[in-house]
Point group: C2
Chain length 131, copies 2
């Protein structure tokens, strides 16, 4: 089974707040985000090979609004790029949408106290990470 970016997004939103309904605004946000990522990807695929390499990825993520440290960027490459460290468009979108979603999940969970950290019990951890 293929994991689709929008499914991850929807599932996680449901988990974070079961009572929340996803309206037009949320879908439009996701759609606009994907459109932006496609444009960024095409811009940074400078040799028009249909893939971007790890250096192009670093620039592309920055251009897409993500300021990633080396450890996180290395992990994304290890997880989503192929054996030659090349990343296709679909994987680029999937990885950055997931990153965006996880960032937003953290913000929602940290919303009340704004401590910069979140505390989860086992049940919460499994519900949020099984997706």
């Amino acid at each position: 089974m293929r994991i689709h970016s929008h499914e991850i997004y929807l599932n996680l939103h449901k988990q974070v707040d079961a009572s929340r309904t996803l309206g037009y605004g949320e879908f439009k946000f996701l759609w606009d985000k994907i459109k932006k990522l496609v444009a960024v990807y095409k811009k940074h695929d400078v040799d028009k090979s249909g893939t971007i390499d790890s250096m192009e990825l670093r620039n592309a993520t920055g251009d897409a609004g993500f300021q990633l440290n080396n450890r996180l960027l290395d992990l994304i490459i290890a997880r989503y790029a192929d054996d030659k460290l090349q990343m296709e468009l679909d994987d680029f979108i999937t990885s950055l949408i997931r990153l965006e979603v996880m960032f937003r999940v953290f913000q929602i969970l940290d919303n009340k106290e704004k401590t910069g950290s979140i505390t989860l019990n086992l049940q919460q951890w499994l519900l949020l990470t099984i997706c």
Copy 2:
């Protein structure tokens, strides 16, 4: 790109403890776990359809050693089963290996104080959930 169970396992282990090396014992554990899941799946695919339904899944997960509450089981079905709530062998293994990995990650993170909860900052959260 396909997400393989063993890749999830390896990546998460690397994240939880970067200094940890994966020896024969770890690989054998994973291999034995997959073999067990295959056997459980085949046992519970009572009509030999090549898929199991949500009721068969409930029994199969229990037989595989997972005591899941309804919310977690519903989430796994929503995430890994198809539109007809049928689950193929590969998705069965992927979902339960991921569940096992996330359970072990929680245990490792909660290892020192055994409080039953874990506290993560944004960086830790992203590194653990981007996989």
